[in-house]
Symmetry: D4
Subunit: 248 residues, 8 copies
Amino acid sequence: MSDRRLRELLEGVRDGSCDVDSAVGRLRHMPFEDLGFAKVDHHRELRHGMPEVVLGQGKTVAEVRAISAKLLERSPNLLVTRATEAMFQAVQELDGHAEFFPRSRAIRVWGDRQERGKAKIAVVCAGTSDIAVAEEAVVTAEVMGNAVETVYDVGVAGIHRLLHRLDRLNSARVVICCAGMEGALPSAVGGLVSVPVIAVPTSVGYGASFNGLSALLGMLNSCSSNVSVVNIDNGFGAAYVATLINRL
Amino acid sequence: MSDRRLRELLEGVRDGSCDVDSAVGRLRHMPFEDLGFAKVDHHRELRHGMPEVVLGQGKTVAEVRAISAKLLERSPNLLVTRATEAMFQAVQELDGHAEFFPRSRAIRVWGDRQERGKAKIAVVCAGTSDIAVAEEAVVTAEVMGNAVETVYDVGVAGIHRLLHRLDRLNSARVVICCAGMEGALPSAVGGLVSVPVIAVPTSVGYGASFNGLSALLGMLNSCSSNVSVVNIDNGFGAAYVATLINRL
Amino acid sequence: MSDRRLRELLEGVRDGSCDVDSAVGRLRHMPFEDLGFAKVDHHRELRHGMPEVVLGQGKTVAEVRAISAKLLERSPNLLVTRATEAMFQAVQELDGHAEFFPRSRAIRVWGDRQERGKAKIAVVCAGTSDIAVAEEAVVTAEVMGNAVETVYDVGVAGIHRLLHRLDRLNSARVVICCAGMEGALPSAVGGLVSVPVIAVPTSVGYGASFNGLSALLGMLNSCSSNVSVVNIDNGFGAAYVATLINRL
Amino acid sequence: MSDRRLRELLEGVRDGSCDVDSAVGRLRHMPFEDLGFAKVDHHRELRHGMPEVVLGQGKTVAEVRAISAKLLERSPNLLVTRATEAMFQAVQELDGHAEFFPRSRAIRVWGDRQERGKAKIAVVCAGTSDIAVAEEAVVTAEVMGNAVETVYDVGVAGIHRLLHRLDRLNSARVVICCAGMEGALPSAVGGLVSVPVIAVPTSVGYGASFNGLSALLGMLNSCSSNVSVVNIDNGFGAAYVATLINRL
Amino acid sequence: MSDRRLRELLEGVRDGSCDVDSAVGRLRHMPFEDLGFAKVDHHRELRHGMPEVVLGQGKTVAEVRAISAKLLERSPNLLVTRATEAMFQAVQELDGHAEFFPRSRAIRVWGDRQERGKAKIAVVCAGTSDIAVAEEAVVTAEVMGNAVETVYDVGVAGIHRLLHRLDRLNSARVVICCAGMEGALPSAVGGLVSVPVIAVPTSVGYGASFNGLSALLGMLNSCSSNVSVVNIDNGFGAAYVATLINRL
Amino acid sequence: MSDRRLRELLEGVRDGSCDVDSAVGRLRHMPFEDLGFAKVDHHRELRHGMPEVVLGQGKTVAEVRAISAKLLERSPNLLVTRATEAMFQAVQELDGHAEFFPRSRAIRVWGDRQERGKAKIAVVCAGTSDIAVAEEAVVTAEVMGNAVETVYDVGVAGIHRLLHRLDRLNSARVVICCAGMEGALPSAVGGLVSVPVIAVPTSVGYGASFNGLSALLGMLNSCSSNVSVVNIDNGFGAAYVATLINRL
Amino acid sequence: MSDRRLRELLEGVRDGSCDVDSAVGRLRHMPFEDLGFAKVDHHRELRHGMPEVVLGQGKTVAEVRAISAKLLERSPNLLVTRATEAMFQAVQELDGHAEFFPRSRAIRVWGDRQERGKAKIAVVCAGTSDIAVAEEAVVTAEVMGNAVETVYDVGVAGIHRLLHRLDRLNSARVVICCAGMEGALPSAVGGLVSVPVIAVPTSVGYGASFNGLSALLGMLNSCSSNVSVVNIDNGFGAAYVATLINRL
Amino acid sequence: MSDRRLRELLEGVRDGSCDVDSAVGRLRHMPFEDLGFAKVDHHRELRHGMPEVVLGQGKTVAEVRAISAKLLERSPNLLVTRATEAMFQAVQELDGHAEFFPRSRAIRVWGDRQERGKAKIAVVCAGTSDIAVAEEAVVTAEVMGNAVETVYDVGVAGIHRLLHRLDRLNSARVVICCAGMEGALPSAVGGLVSVPVIAVPTSVGYGASFNGLSALLGMLNSCSSNVSVVNIDNGFGAAYVATLINRL
């Protein structure tokens, strides 16, 4: 029920052209969506203060360009995940400041760089091959208004490398931890910090890594109680959750 | 290296009975754990302010009793998860205020009820069979110093029941969401709130639920970006993560 | 918003004590659940004309008894699935006409036997061990107001037995087809009839049947296009879907 | 045994040129298919009133062209699923009115547009990436004589979008519901409508979606009892089942 | 249609009391099973010369007793697989010569000991724990009229033990090979003999044997081309196939 | 120990240059393979009368050419499975009579066409897409000296098509049965014939067929006791087993 | 061929009663097992110097007693794995020095305590629940003649505890590492030591640990290159491999 | 803490400018990594005497070139695994003695050929397709200072071929055993030798080999107790473990 129709109904009540009983009945049976829930939802998005995000995968270059153009009209920040080089060129035509991150395949327009998080987010990863996923988390966290600290190449097979960076880990309000293969890093990191750890299994590995299943199961079974897990290779999702925590 | 041994070494340096070079050498080759990392770790636990927690599963009644006795000496709060009735009786002899929660099989001594969280934690569950897991989350969250709001029996097949409780959900700083079968609830809840959602798949279901695998996969693939996941039936872990978030 | 509160608001508008603008605003921001969606949902249940159903599994005898008592107050029919002998005795005390079906572990009170389906539902099963699941479908379909035709023990290894019963199959408006092991029966049945076939994989089998997984996969891959599938051992669900179809 | 041959045999009996014993013998040992079962089968197809359908996958362009030519001789409608652009060009040469749907890779000749269904079929999908599968369902349902209502992009993470379209859902006699990732949509839709819901898991997603396995398991475990499931990405099959239901 | 009814129809045609057209019609619409397909099927069983077999699993003692009584009326041999001690006592009351094999849980009445196979069947097994499955194969093969040679405890980890028995293997017309754990034995045996090898994976093992899955996959991937496989623990099925081969 | 060396040793014994004790010792410790087991093995191959077979997959064109050249020197028949067009051209240069079967990717030189089997092998397949695998079985069975009868496109969804061909099935001494998707055909065929059925699951299908896993599990769980199974898409292996049976 | 028979043959050659040609022939065609390969095998066992080991699982008490009695006649050491209390009592009657380890369910007679390993074997485990498996490794390693150093309760979530014990780890020639849940410990240990690490996944955990699968996959994907893996819960196997390494 | 900083602190203690208490405090809270653990780690690598290894997969040619250049400065040996032809050309420009192994995709610079192992490592493989993985093991083992003996094409289907090479197997101090398909070879080899066997499952096979899963499970369930397992296709890891064993 649009504003106009609701107003007409109430005016009818006021005018006496519609009695209370029938007004109750009409309100009762009105499709509730007409009461403006989309607006409520819109408010929720505004409340989050999140930039608009486009999933490039499964879209054409034209679609990405069209959606991006529309979003850039109302937001200074834009993120396109799982994008292609061609999508980047299309977005760059819309906004010359667009950046492309080939490893993580992310396109970013980062006009509004105001920090909204309360502290830093640390993004940790095990091996150099996990950096693609970590980078998606970093790019996302930054464009959503977080200061980010990266701690790369600190797999559990060389635990001293991780211990070397303990200060960086301890300066963060939330830690994102990306690892493939056995996915053991979040357990080790979780035991060293006292903040929430968002674990991201990566599809890095071969054979019995089964495209990230091994790392996923490892993280779900972590003996560190401060670890929760997102989908395989989902650097974006980890950064989204971390952003919400960092703004609390 | 205990305090004493380190002190002796330094006194030797001060006294001249040990020259700097050999002191450097001895420090260099000392097992670093002697430098008191256990204490650091101990500090970390104190910093968390978490009560001691015992996993009952795989332990004998005597073991649970002994550990509980030791822990109750230094902490007014105690949690034993996955416990038995017999374990409860043993703990009750130690502390008459011990409570037992048969559904979730948790034993709790809740002497210090000071609230340490910044706001409420909402614990949501889909069906009545999921309450066992939700209860473990509630009992844990409470004993760790959080105010808890429960929203039970709001599965996605009756979405209006969930919408009815939107206010309760929106009053929480973090939401724990337990569901078995298709595990769809966190996606729906995640779309309605603007705070982190910790999803707990439960082993409730039969046939192709494969003891919680179905719910687990569903939650990992959630289309709501504010969802992260813990292990199947891990109400304790969800409450632990939620507590850390609620204290930030 | 209860009826009373809505009525007060509208009376305020009529009386002029509340102007239209503020009434629009209050309606706009009212929690929509207060508009009576539970009632809408209630209507939906009435519209279905389905009897109340209780899932016995995971409930205590006392809980089943209490719920059943409440339901029997407002409905002449009751179904408790996955029940125990003890649950049956409790329900029997409430209603002496209660029946128990040990094979399928179903309790039924069947007071209102009016037929509501347009035609018959055929329930087919492959081996004698599948009868437990088939029986759950039969008991459910009957108590929901359908005439049921059973065609048992017609596995594909003896295809002539199935062909013998073709007339019974062809007299049905919808066919429920239960099979374990290789789950091939729905494909054969689907090729012989021109109505929808609801396939129910059963956990009957051993070894590589993996508790019904083999039958489930077989049915999902059926080369007969008129087959859709429900969960392993879910005779109830199949009958529910079949009832909806039979009432169309 | 064709009509003619059977008639000749019986005329032989009548004429005395064939005695009863040898007629019994010949009938007994005749392949029963000669008694016209092929025709029965043919009748079944006619009774269904379904257009001919060709599965493009695994066939050459020449094969698709040849089969299509033959089918178009006796039917004004044709559907080729999982086809290629090259197949479309071949079919278009046969019939200039052929349409191609690149997203769902379907070729359709829709000469006879008579509506045979009793009411509308609603085709619902969760995300924009699921539209490919939904489109296959739409194209199939239309060419089989159904009015179709589409409700796209109504994933459970934005439940209000789904509620907005409740009227469209409620106008349908059967609902097809396509979703990838966690596959939660059919549960939510199933709770809102009182008609059968055919759930189609899609292979949309990544990581732990395991090419649609996650959505498939979710749908099989749906807490909405009016949901049955077809194979991953099987929009065609869902539309076939829905058509049968809509004609009842 | 029994012989009698068919004969009456034809006599009517001969007599003129039934014209050809209506005879065609009646034959066309007669359920074809009446043409004696059940009898054909019956003949097939007779042709096999197989004794009647009862699957004990999932049946009550009373049911097994009743079926056995009926079968023993018309056959001197009986096999009940996956039976219990109680079932054995019931069968023993019917026939004092009944034997029970506790390891394989088989009941056998072996009245007719005529050899029907052309040569011997060798039953080979890897470890002592596999003997339960091997015994089911032996008991079955014997009661179906085969001479059986057993070669037990010849796992591939002690290949010389297998080579020791090469003469026994080479005297067989078909080899049944039971193995759990890695299931490697059929490959080794298959390379040593020039006859068909029926491989039976057993559920013997622990951990990553996954209840026989490991052995099953191993056997399906055998590098010996003369190996085919039956279900996990299916000694009966292997003996059935071997019997058919041995009678050729 | 070659013939020569063994002879020398024995001549030493005869001549007295080697005493019995040391001869026993040398024989005892001689590597037994020198006693000519390779020859035994060679005899086994000759006894089988099988042509040489080359697995093309994983080999270069040059390797296939070299091996084929060597094999063709001593055998009039050659089979290369899973070959490429380029491999065929290389083999054709060696022997102008070489045939290529693109669907099954088999190369065959069939010089010696003598029939060695006792009767026919029937090769049955469910859908047209399964023909590639069936063809591998046919090509293999023929080149190994069997008469082959093919029965294609007789899936269980149109059971009458299978019944139409019952005579062909019944004329065979062993049946090879290829099917993808739900893999139900071997159960139906197994119930209709009284000879061994070798089931070949094919990777035909999509979604929950999981590349043939669905068909494989279905066949392993067949309710027809005369069915044994080979690896997915292994038409060659099925023909090999069938050949051994057909020669018995 | 026994020694005697071989000797007779050679004496015949020496005596001239058997000519060389026929002796070659007889040796050529003798079943090679008669040449004493069992003895060779027996030698191999003696060379290993391993005590006799009995797998209790799947054997009756009587069988375990009988086998143990026989083994104790010729060896001062005995190990029965996966045994029961009743088996222990039976063995204790045979040898009063028998020990029982209830956690690991091992029975040990340890008469000969001579150390045969070159250095120590370290047995490390992650949590207290893993001790059952670790104990099986310890008991096995000891009875096979190794000095054993245990390092328990050093999970990666408290990495400092592991570092505390670095000296113990570094004193070992081979490390056995038992862990359930995420199975991360071998990666951390492997990075700290420069000797082979034998990883034993345990079935400790719940939910997505899938009875040890999670730990198994984690260990197979270890980023530490000095890790190899044995079956889930296979403490015995790990100790066996470690013993072989420690004796090199 | 660098040497310099530690020295300054100690000099302060000696000089009296820093008292013992504050020195203890500073040492207690110093990040321990500053104490030179990286150096310790460096020492560990030197102690191993292992050449530097680069994983080519997931790196660019430029990255491989840069890393290789740096490593070649301080080591005469270099190994790049899972490399490309282009990577080889880049490395060859750095060092003209670089070799490329196309089958295993390994690049090797083998300047220092000193043997460091105590005896030979045997590398065994089942089929010719497994040679790629075996070659990676050989190339790795050689460059790490081991003499290597290869025993190829000795699958269990032709067990005599394996027995022929028993002497080669028995001359090794550790055996690496590569096999795909059913992965049975390590069990057979393990039974023939008295040294540790490192089993490498390969992804060779099709259908139910599931990319090496079948071989992996087979090897984990080996009935030979001297077998441990590494990841699928991990020839490098097997050689690394074998090298450590061979140096003991």
